[in-house]
Symmetry: C2
Subunit: 123 residues, 2 copies
DNA sequence: CAGGATCCGGTAAGATACTG
DNA sequence: CAGTATCTTACCGGATCCTG
C-alpha cells in the first residue's frame, strides 16, 4: 500500500546535485538575503557576515551560472555591481524557506539527538 | 511593503547547518531510499549505487547521530544491520521531497542557464 | 568598490586491504 | 555481512596581496 514513488536514479542525482549547490556553505544565506531585494557586493558581504570576499564571489558566480541571480555592473567610478534574484531564484526560495522553517522548528530535536549520541559514544 | 521576515543571524546559521547535512553528497539519496522502509547495509549500498562502503557508513553514522535514522543490529551469523528512518527522519523527508520535486521540475532550466553561462564565458 | 591571483591547511571522498 | 583501518587524492575555504 505504500505510495512507492519511483526513485529514478537519474532524477535522484539531479535532486542531489541541486541540493549540493543549495547546501554549500553560503548559498542559502546569500539567497535568503537577496530575497529582500537587490544588493551590492559589500552590502551583501556585510549582511551575511563572516564570509570572505573570495567565497562570496564564487558563491555569486555559481548562483549566476545556474540562473538564480543576475549580476548588473554599473560602469561608474567607483564601480558598482548589483545582485538580484531571478524568477528562478525566487521560486527556489519557496522550497528552501520551507526546509528552513522545518530546520528552525526542529533544530532543538537535532541537537538533543546529537548530544545523546555523543554521550552514548563516550563509553 | 515587503514582508521583511527577520533573518536572525542565529536562525540562518542553524538553517544553513541543517542544509549542509542534508546537502552533503549522499544524505538525500540514502534518506529517500529509506523512505520506503527499513533496509540493510548492502541493500542500501546497492540501491544507492556508486557509493563506497566507507561513505555509506559515515553517512549513516551522521544520520544516526542527528536522530534521523535508527541502527538495529541483529547478532546473528552472518550479522545483519537494519537502518530505518525515525519520526524525525520521516518529517525531514517532507520538506526535502518538496525541494526534490522543485529540483526535478526545474533541472532543465538550471542546465540551460548553465549552458548559456558557459557559452558566454567561452569568449 | 569589486574582484582577480595566489598560496596554504584541513577535510571530504575514494580505493584498497583487513576483521569479527 | 557489515563494517574498521589506512593511505592518497582532490577540492573547499580562508588569508593575503594586487588591480582597474
Amino acid at each position: 500500500m505504500k505510495p512507492r514513488h519511483p526513485h529514478r536514479s537519474e532524477d535522484c542525482r539531479a535532486v542531489s546535485a541541486v541540493l549540493q549547490r543549495v547546501g554549500d556553505k553560503w548559498t542559502v544565506l546569500v539567497v535568503s538575503m537577496l530575497g529582500d531585494g537587490p544588493m551590492r557586493f559589500n552590502e551583501l558581504r556585510h549582511a551575511v557576515g563572516g564570509i570572505s570576499q573570495k567565497m562570496l564571489t564564487t558563491t555569486l558566480r555559481n548562483l549566476e551560472r545556474d540562473g538564480f541571480v543576475t549580476r548588473t555592473v554599473f560602469p561608474t567610478i567607483p564601480p558598482r555591481v548589483d545582485y538580484e534574484l531571478t524568477g528562478l531564484g525566487r521560486e527556489l526560495l519557496t522550497p528552501v524557506m520551507a526546509l528552513g522553517d522545518w530546520a528552525r522548528a526542529n533544530i532543538d530535536r537535532i541537537n538533543n539527538a546529537r548530544d545523546r549520541f555523543d554521550a552514548a559514544a563516550q563509553s
